[in-house]
Amino acid sequence: MSGRLAGGGRLIDRATPVSFTFNGARLSGFAGDTLASALLANGLLLQGRSFKYHRPRGPVASGVEEPNALVNLGTGARSEPNARTTVTELREGLVARSQNHWPSLGFDLGAVNARFAPLLPAGFYYKTFIHPRAAWKSLFEPAIRRSAGLGVVPEEGDADRYEYLYAHCDVLVAGGGVSGLAAALAAGRAGARVLLMEQTPVWGGRALVDGPEIAGGPAADWIAAALGELDALPNVTRRARAMVAGAYDHGYALAEEMLGDTDFGPRARLWRIRARRIVTATGALERPLAFAGNDVPGVMLASAVRDYLELYGVSVGDRTVVVTNNDDGYRTAIALARAGRTVPAVLDARPAAGGALPEEARALGIRIETGRGVARVRGGKAVRGVAVCDQEGEGAVVGRIACDAVAMSGGWSPVVHLWSHSGGRLAWNETLAHFAPDTGRPPLGPDGEGFAIPAGCASGALVAEEAMNDAHAAGLRAAQELGFRVEDTPAPAARSPHEDPPRAVWMMPARARPGLRAKAFLDFQNDVKVSDVRLAAREGYVSVEHAKRYTTLGMATDQGKLSNINGLATLSQALSIPIPEVGTTTFRPPYTPVTFGALAGEARGALFKPTRRTPIDAWSDANGADWEPVGDWRRPFCYRHGTETRAEAVRREVLNTRQGVGVLDASTLGKILVKGADAGKFLDLLYTNVMSSLGIGKCRYGLMCNENGFLFDDGVVIRMAEDTFLCHTTTGGSDRVAAWMEEWLQTEWWDLRVHVVNLTEQYAQIAVVGPKARAVLSALGGMDLSKEAMPFMTFAEGTLGGVPARAHRISFSGELSFEVAVPANRGQAFWDAVMTAGAAHGIAPYGTECLHILRAEKGFIMIGDETDGTVIPQDLGLSWAVSKKKADFIGKRAQARPEMTRPDRETLVGLRTGDPAVVLPDGAHAVDGPVAASGPTRTIGHVTSSYFSPTLGHSIAMALIERGAERMGQVLDFPLEGGEVIRATVCDPVFLDREGSRQNV
C-alpha cells in the first residue's frame, strides 16, 4: 500500500499541513505536494477510470505525461475537468472528484465494458453494433457515448479572469531543468535578452531526483547558484509554472503561465512570444513497457516511483519489483533500497547488466535477473504480484514474485514536440532507441536559418555530462547566431555513473501470446493495446497516421506522450518495416492542454467584439430602441412605445411613415470619398453603370460586382465636383468597399490619379421620409427644399436649422425623402431639431424592419437578402443599371460567361400568398409543380424577403425563381417543415406605386 514515509521529500514542507477533499472525503497533505502525491500519501492509488473499458487506474507518471489520474477540480463556475493530479499543486480547500465512473470510483458498472472487450476492438465503431441499423441511433450510440468519455464540461461560465501578455526576446529557453538553466546562462552572459520558462513550480527538473554532480557539488547547489546568477542578469527573465505550449512559424511561441486560483487578478496568462531563437530544453520522458497488466494501479514508470519517493517522501508500495531495459531503471531500485523499502528483484530484459548502476544495486543486495521480463501482473485494483518470464520467450512463467508495486522503465524519449511543431525533423537513434531532433533540419525563420536549437536531454543527450555540454553549447550558439559576442567558456562539469546502452523492448515478452498482447496497454487513457495496433496493421492500416486514428492511439488528452513511440514501434514490428520508415505522427501544439480561458484572454463579453455606434445611438437607446446587430453596428430594429410588441411597433412605424413622416438614423451607410483627376474613370470601372457622366449636384444609384460578375454592394453615388464623388455603400459594406477600391488602385490601376477616403463615421446621416418630410425640414430653415430647387436624385449643400448639411433627394422607401448628412458631432443636435420641427406633423423614428418593409413594398433589393454571392444584377431585373456601352468594368466579362446568360437562371419575382394573412418564411423553397407525395422534389428557387405589408394589408415576398419572368401568374408550392404547403402566385416585385409618383413630388 502506498503511503507517506517518516522522512524524505525534498519539495514538501511537513510543518505546513494542507487539507483537501477527494470524492467528498477530507484528506490531508503537505505544502509542496501535488494532488497525486497527497492521494498516494493517503493510500489512494486508485484515482481514475479509463475511457473505454472503465478499468481502474492509478497514476503511471509523476508529471505532465500522466494519462490516467484525471480528476475534476473545483465546483460551479470554477469547475475544471480532466485535471492531471500529477501536476495539480495541492492547496488548502482543494476539491477534487474522480471522473468517468458510475456509481463510484471503486465500484463502476461501466467496467462491464471490459467483459465485452472482444466486441470493442480497434475501429469497433465501424464493425460492431451495425445491425439492426435503426438501433445505432437509438440504442448503441447513446449507450456508447454515455459510457465513453472523461470529465464533464462545466455548466457555468468561468468565474476567473485571464490575460494576454506580448513578449519579445532574443532567446526563449523552454524548460527549467539543468539544461535549460545552462543554456539560459550561456546566452544570458553573452547579453542576449533571454526568457526562461519552466512548466512546473520547481527549477532543476530531473536533476533534483537523479542528482548528478554538477560543478563539483550536488546538483541542487548548482541549481541554486545558477538561479542566483540568472536573477542578477538584467537581460534574463524567468517564469515558473509557465508551459511553452507551442512553437510556430518564424519563432512565434505561446506559453501558458498559471498564476493560481485567486480572487485577485487573472488565473492564467497567455504569453504570446516572438523569439529569434527558441532553445528547446524540454527534457525526456520515460517510456512504459508493454506487458500484460501494465495498467494495474501500482504499475508505474520507474522515474515516477523515485520522484514520489525523493520529492514527496511517498512510497508507492512496500515491495516494488523493478522491470527495465536500461541502466537508468536501477536508480529506482537503489533509491527504494536506500529508503528502506523492499525491492524483491530487478527484472532486466537485457542478457547482461554490467553498468555502474546495476553494480551499485548488486552491492545493496538487490537480486537482479537478466534476460527476464514480466509475463503478467497479478491484481485488479492493486498489484498483488508479477509472473516472471524469459524476455525472449512467449510468456511461459518461470517464477512468481509477490509485490504491491511495479516500477517499469522502457528507456527515455526526448521531448521533441516544440522542435517538431513548425517543421523540425527527427532522426532515429538506433542505440538509444528513440527519435531525437535532426539538427541539420530545424524549423526555419524568415531568413531561412533555423530558429530552434535543442538542448540537453531534449536533443538526445541523456547522460548528465553530455547533456550539460550540449545545453551550454546551445545557449552559446543561440547568442552567437544573433550577433552577440560569446566567450568560449566551458560547460558546467557534470558527472554521473556511466550507463550501458538500453535494449529496445517493444513487447514483453518479445513473442507474447495473443492473450498477453490483449492485456498489454500502449495508450492507457484510450485503452489501446498491443493487440489493437497489430489488428490495425493486419487490416491494412500501414500509415502511422491512419493507424493512430483507427485505434485512437495517442489521441487522448496526453496526446500520446507515453504511447507514441511504443505504438509506432509495435506497428513497425507488425508490418516488418523499420521504425524510421514508419515515422511518427505529427506533433501539434499545445504540448499539454491550455485552458480555453487563457486562449480567450480578456476577449469575452463586452470586450469580445466592439460594437459600432452612431451619434444617435444614445438617443435611440433612451427612446425604446429594440436593437439588432447589422454588420459591426447595432441599429434599432424598431422603437417600441410602452407595451407595444415588436410587430405592433413595426406596423405603426410603416403606416406613420407612409401617411405622415418618419425619421431614420441612416448614419451607418458607408460614405466613401473618391477624389482625383481620374475619379470618374475609376468609378466607371468599379460600378456596372456609368458614373463619369453624372452631373455635379446629381445622384445616381450604382451597383458593384466582383470579377465573377456577382453583385456585392449597391448605393447612391453623388458628384460633388468635377473630380470629387461620394459613394454611399451598404451598412455592412463600407470597410469592404473602401478596401476594394484601394486594392484596385494599388494593384491594377496604379496609373489612375485617384485617392479614396472612408468618411463613414465623419457624418451622421438622417433620413426624413414621408409625405410631410418637406414640411418638417423646411421648418428648420436655411435651404430651399422645393421640388424646383431640389428635384429627385439631386443634392445640395447648405445649412438646415443652423447645422451644416448636405441634403440628398434620394429614396429607399418610395416616399418623398431627404437624406441629410451633417457632421457627426452635430448629428444629435440635428436629430433633435428634426424631432422638434416634426412634432406637429406626428414625426416618429423608425427602425430597420420598417425600412425593410418600405423597400420591399417598392421591390427594392437588399444586398444580403436578394443577393448571396451567386446573383448577378441581371437576375434581379437590374439590367438597366448595367452599362452595355462601357468597354470594361469589374464583372463585365464574367457576366458574359455561358453560365451567366443561361435562360433558366433564377430571377427575381414578387409573390402573393393565397391567404393574404400568411407570410412565407424567409428562405422557403419553391418546388417544381405540386409537392410530390413521395420521392424527390426539384427546387426551383427560394424566398429572399418576406413581410406583411401594413400599407397594402397583405403579405408580400420576393423570391429568386428559375425562369421567374416567364412565370407571372403561376401558382407555386412552398412546402415547409412539418408538411405544410404554402401556395403563392408569382407577380411583379414592385407592390406599391409602380410609377414612382409618391417619391417624385
Partner: protein, 107 residues
C-alpha cells in the same frame, strides 16, 4: 505565424497585422478575353511546394499592398517588394536562384 516586413513602411510585424491576397502577378483578363483565358484568370492559381509569389496588404499598418516571395514548404521569406510592378525585381530573382539552385523561375 509568419513574420513579414512591409516594404513601404519598413515595419517588421506579425502575420496578423497583414491580410493575405493570394497569388501575385496574375494578369487581369477582361472584356474580349476568350472563355478559357478568362476562366484561368478567375479560377486557376498556382499551389507550389516551394517558391511562391503572393500578395499581402499591411492591413493594420500603412494599408499598402505589396508582394512577397516565400517558400511555402520552409516558410523562408526571400523578399518583399512593391505591388506596382509586373515582374519581381532582378535582385530578388537572383537571390532566390542562389538559395534555390533548381528553381524553375517565377512566371
Amino acid at each position: 505565424m509568419l513574420l513579414l516586413t512591409c516594404p513601404y513602411c519598413g515595419v517588421e510585424a506579425e502575420e496578423t497585422e497583414f491580410a493575405p491576397g493570394g497569388q501575385a502577378h496574375t494578369r487581369r483578363e477582361s472584356a474580349g478575353a476568350d472563355d478559357a483565358d478568362f476562366a484561368a484568370y478567375l479560377f486557376e492559381r498556382k499551389n507550389p511546394r516551394g517558391v511562391h509569389f503572393e500578395r499581402w496588404r499591411h492591413a493594420y499598418g500603412c494599408g499598402k499592398w505589396f508582394h512577397v516571395a516565400r517558400d511555402t514548404a520552409t516558410l523562408e521569406i526571400f523578399g518583399a517588394y512593391s505591388a506596382q510592378t509586373a515582374a519581381p525585381p532582378e535582385a530578388l530573382i537572383a537571390k532566390i536562384r542562389r538559395r534555390r539552385p533548381g528553381w524553375e523561375g517565377w512566371s
